[in-house]
């Protein structure tokens, strides 16, 4: 799908973790460079082009959030994955607002990390490409021209807002989407805090597309943060119960 040896810059102040990640990511088929701090990472990013940056949120000196914002400025095409320690939604929201593409929470399994990295890589690669007219995920088919949803080939009626919401989610399949981002994109820039709108639309969508709306497979809740659209047929999509320990 993408050339082997995608380059990753690992930014962390813990040398043991850097070393372990380096060895393991190389074994998983990435090429890896390290940086010990946000400041060092900025210099490295200016010199070399990276496909991915794995960036620790809490580092002494420049914070990971600041570094993320600056790296995004220098290297807009790089996929940025933040490593958060606190499983607090604030860090995650801040990271996403600073331009990160995704996040993993310490401690994470290596497979989870590589899956995230691959998914981000794919999203950043395809985003430049021409948008397809029909989006597919699992047994869903969303026709953007006809504004039609088919599930197992059967047409399902969606209201215009439901359609817009689902279309935006499917275009960003795999990516975490904050409540605010969803509201602003689908409802308009004046929105952002109307969580109950979003929740009721998500509930209706789940009733229409999920086999069991109580255990959703497509629209997964990211606790306290937002939602993530998951393609069950994608091997790199996060596990269904990402929120559970």
């Amino acid at each position: 799908m993408f050339p082997r040896h995608s380059s990753v810059l690992v930014v962390d102040d813990e040398s043991a973790l850097r070393k372990a990640l380096r060895t393991s990511l190389i074994a998983s088929g990435f090429s890896v460079e390290e940086a010990r701090s946000g400041e060092e990472a900025l210099g490295t990013v200016q010199r070399n082009r990276f496909d991915l940056v794995l960036l620790d949120v809490s580092m002494p000196g420049m914070s990971g959030i600041d570094a993320c914002r600056r790296i995004r400025g220098i290297s807009p095409q790089a996929g940025i994955v933040m490593v958060t320690v606190r499983d607090q939604e604030d860090d995650k929201v801040q990271a996403l607002e600073a331009g990160a593409d995704d996040y993993v929470t310490k401690p994470f399994k290596l497979r989870e990390l590589t899956a995230r990295l691959r998914a981000v890589l794919r999203r950043t690669r395809t985003s430049d490409a021409v948008e397809p007219v029909v989006l597919r995920a699992g047994n869903l088919e969303l026709d953007l021209h006809e504004r039609l949803l088919r599930r197992n080939g059967e047409e399902i009626h969606l209201s215009p807002k439901e359609f817009d919401l689902l279309a935006f989610m499917m275009k960003n399949a795999g990516a975490p989407l904050t409540h605010m981002k969803l509201l602003r994109t689908v409802w308009g820039v004046d929105y952002g805090n109307e969580l109950e709108y979003l929740r009721s639309y998500v509930r209706m969508l789940r009733k229409k597309i999920e086999a069991d709306p109580a255990a959703p497979e497509y629209i997964v809740t990211e606790p306290w943060l937002g939602y993530r659209f998951r393609d069950p047929s994608d091997p790199d999509s996060p596990p269904k119960s990402a929120q559970d320990d």
């Binding site: 813990e14 043991a16 973790l17 372990a20 990640l21 060895t23 393991s24 990511l25 074994a27 998983s28 490593v83 320690v85 606190r86 499983d87 607090q88 929470t105 310490k106 401690p107 994470f108 399994k109 290596l110 497979r111 990390l113 969580l195 109950e196 929740r199 509930r203 109580a214 255990a215 809740t221 606790p223 306290w224 119960s241 929120q243 559970d244 320990d245």
Partner: protein, 490 residues
């Protein structure tokens, strides 16, 4: 109020004697210089006014009567007789009597009021001084000698005694064992005491509406006026002492808890990076691809256990945070049955040596709740049920609607929680005697779980009437929005 100032009889007699002599002397002088009836009357009025300045009503009346008699005898026709020929003279005499009595009455009253106002002011001054002295003392010191001495000095009393019910301590300043005994008795009997002969007064002390001691005075002047005020002042200071004590105690406790939570937080964070390193390392080992099947299995074990440790740490952190903060649930409609079913699946997969079942409740039950918090709370209950039951035993859950509430019951086989621990298990950092011996825990789980239940407008309790070998926790939260409007935000 207004206990009247009444001078002794002897004093009245003395005043009356002086006044009477003056009246007779005045009659003698005026008679000798041949003043007539009309000119004499003002002198007598003056005399009566002067007499009334003594403030002694009885002597004034006597002087007024004698003055009238002198006027009648020496200045009205016929002289030296009480008979009065001329009706105008009789009228004048009557007017004199009336005027002098009215003057006497008025002046006496004014003087009396001035006197009591002065006394009142003095008393207030002394009370004020006393309050100032007492407020200057260490608020947490016992009501000992330092406390009682100012009473004695400022109010000139023989002895003062205070009995404090909380410590059952009795403090006495001055020499009166009788006062000590009667002060304690007044507290025990719950009655005030005024012994006029022994000049003892005892008043009960009340703090926060409760009888909390008694204070007694020996030789207090004017006990009806003063004793109550002194007792009120003492009670106020006693209240202050209790409040100070409670405040410093809770401040100390709060400080300890802050340290404790900060420690938990720091520890949990410190754990996460090494765990991430272990996970990255073991993952890389497998990716390197040169492991035998057996080694692969061991790598899996290391990975799973390290991940589990990470999850435990995360949950401990989350619980510690919820413990510290005011919880603000983000309410949304939640299908409680589905949520519970999902948790059961999740925990069944994790603890294979305990069977977890949903026995009751297969219909969707909606509630307005924060799904994350409910998940955390029910998860905690399931976890506890597994932790405190023997391997191989059964943990059951039931979801039922009860009027406006949805009840979630989690029960497990295990020894019943001792009666004296039943209330305490919901306390912060409390760990039962059995729990301390057999399992690990932070002592926060149930405390935080109950906090979550309360903030949802619900409750979490140990089910009453538990049998000997089954422990059931019951969590109830409201199903409707109306119910939730009464929820406190804390």
């Amino acid at each position: 109020m207004g206990q009247q100032y009444v001078p002794g009889l002897a004093k009245s007699a003395r005043y009356a004697l002086i006044g009477s002599i003056a009246a007779i002397l005045l009659a003698f002088i005026c008679y000798r210089i041949h003043l007539d009836f009309a000119s004499v009357i003002p002198f007598y009025l003056l005399l009566v006014v002067l007499q009334s300045l003594t403030g002694d009503f009885r002597s004034c009346v006597i002087v007024a009567v004698i003055s009238t008699a002198c006027l009648d005898l020496f200045f009205t026709e016929p002289l030296f007789s009480f008979r009065i020929d001329h009706p105008l003279n009789a009228l004048a005499l009557a007017a004199f009597v009336f005027t002098s009595l009215v003057i006497t009455r008025l002046v006496a009253r004014v003087r009396e009021e001035a006197r009591s106002a002065k006394l009142q002011k003095e008393r207030l001054d002394r009370l004020y001084q006393l309050a100032q002295r007492l407020l200057g003392l260490d608020p947490e010191a016992p009501l000992g000698e330092d406390f009682l001495e100012p009473f004695r000095r400022l109010f000139g009393i023989r002895a003062v005694c205070v009995f404090e019910a909380e410590s059952a301590e009795l403090h006495l300043v001055g020499d009166s064992q009788e006062l000590a005994v009667r002060t304690r008795n007044a507290y025990i009997r719950g009655t005030d005491l005024d012994d006029v002969d022994a000049r003892l007064s005892v008043r009960r002390l009340r703090t926060s509406g409760q009888l909390s001691g008694a204070i007694g005075f020996a030789g207090l002047e004017d006990p009806a006026e003063t004793a109550g005020a002194l007792a009120a002042l003492t009670a106020a200071l006693l209240e202050r002492k209790i409040a100070f004590h409670a405040a410093s105690e809770s401040a100390a406790a709060a400080q300890t808890e802050i340290y404790r939570s900060a420690m938990l937080d720091a520890l949990a964070h410190e754990f996460k990076t090494p765990l991430a390193t272990i996970l990255a390392g073991v993952g890389g080992l497998r990716e390197a691809g040169s492991l035998t099947a057996e080694q692969e299995g061991m790598a899996d074990t290391v990975e799973n256990e390290a991940f589990r440790l990470g999850s435990l740490t995360s949950r401990l952190l989350r619980t510690a945070r919820l413990d510290n903060e005011h919880i603000r649930p983000r309410l949304e409609p939640v299908d409680i049955t589905a949520l519970v079913a999902q948790l059961i699946r999740q925990y069944s997969a994790r603890s294979s040596d305990r069977a977890i079942f949903l026995t009751d409740g297969h219909e969707a039950t909606q509630a307005l709740a924060d799904p994350e918090l409910i998940r955390l709370m029910v998860g905690q209950l399931i976890e506890n049920a597994c932790k405190y039951s023997r391997p191989g035993s059964v943990v059951t859950l039931a979801v039922e609607r009860e009027a406006e509430l949805v009840a979630i019951r989690v029960s497990n086989n295990g020894s019943a929680i001792p009666r004296n621990e039943q209330r305490r298990i919901f306390e912060r950092f409390y760990r039962g005697e059995d729990a301390k011996r057999s399992t690990s825990g932070s002592g926060l789980g149930l405390y935080v779980a109950r906090k979550i239940a309360l903030v949802h407008g619900g409750a979490l309790d140990l089910e009453a009437g538990q049998s000997d070998d089954r422990v059931t926790f019951c969590l109830k939260i409201p199903t409707t929005k109306e119910e939730l409007q009464h929820v406190p935000t804390a």
